[in-house]
Amino acid sequence: MPARSAPLAAAYAANRQSTNAIQTAQRALDAALSSGQTNLLERLRTQLKAYQSGQL
């Protein structure tokens, strides 16, 4: 369940706000990368990819 990794991005997606969803997921991914939260990276990448491909 990717929403557990970036719930705000998922909430934007659920409300069909794709630009906000993509930007928020990207920020969450950047934050996880810079803080070394490697356990979240795969989930966040999957979540971001889904929004970028229009899977809202």
Binding site: A6, A11, A14, T24, A28, L40
Partner: protein, 242 residues
């Protein structure tokens, strides 16, 4: 604080001064100085168990878990049925990653104090952290039966139910956790995730998801990354020292 230290210098065995110093350190969030005032080999009797327990709590609050464990051990030698010290020792074991030992200590705490919601919650946490959600759930439930307004236990039960894909049952507990812990973003994030993405369409509430997620992000200073369910992510919430 200086007065307590001076009294201990003059009378190292004075129980009340040890206890006062420990309590003062805990209030200040400090534990590193006072415990060194304890004379080596000084373990005291049953009356001093609380002092050593308090010192352990102060050290644990500073992250000095190995030293905290020593003091809990002294407390338990002085008072072998000291449920609170077993619970604290269990929490220290959790911090040290020794989950099996933590479980044993929490079970012992409950054996000595049958109605001990904090230990039930702690036991549930240790089990949940081992991936034993099905075993954790009854302990969170007991904690809530004993203390219905226990916000952390509501959150932990909601999270455990969610990890078992029991979304519908998780929601009321997460809602209660938000009501009881309004400044904590974790329950908001988790509930927002359910409202946004639940497989059961009847559970989805996109507008509520967005409102909750924004509130959670506002409380975390902009971060939108919940570790719940992530491999290695911590599931449980423990109350602040009480």
């Amino acid at each position: 604080m200086l007065e307590y230290t001076e009294v201990l210098r003059l009378q190292p065995g004075l129980a009340e001064a040890h206890n006062n110093l420990a309590n003062a350190l805990q209030r200040l969030g400090r534990g590193g100085g006072g415990h060194r005032a304890l004379p080596r080999g000084f373990e005291g009797g049953p009356d001093l168990a609380e002092t050593h327990n308090n010192l352990g709590v102060a050290l644990a609050a500073k992250g000095e878990m190995a030293e905290a464990v020593v003091h809990y051990g002294v407390a338990l030698r002085a008072k072998p049925d000291y449920a609170e010290a077993y619970n604290n020792l269990g929490n220290a074991m959790v911090s040290l990653g020794k989950l099996d030992q933590a479980v044993t200590n929490f079970l012992t705490a409950i054996r000595y104090r049958a109605q001990f919601p904090k230990a039930e919650n702690s036991l549930g946490c240790a089990l949940a952290m081992q991936g034993r959600q099905a075993e954790a759930i009854p302990h969170f439930t007991i904690a809530l039966n004993l203390k219905p307004d226990y916000g952390e236990a509501h959150f932990n039960l909601g999270a455990a139910l969610l990890l078992q894909h029991r979304n519908g049952e998780a929601i009321p507990h997460l809602e209660q956790a938000i009501r009881l812990l309004p400044d904590n973003p974790m329950a908001m994030s988790v509930l927002a995730g359910i409202y946004a993405t639940a497989e059961e369409s009847a559970l989805r509430q996109p507008a509520a998801a967005l409102e909750l997620a924004k509130r959670a992000v506002g409380l975390t200073g902009g971060a939108d990354a919940g570790a719940l369910g992530a491999p290695g992510g911590r599931v449980c919430r423990q109350p602040a020292i009480d």
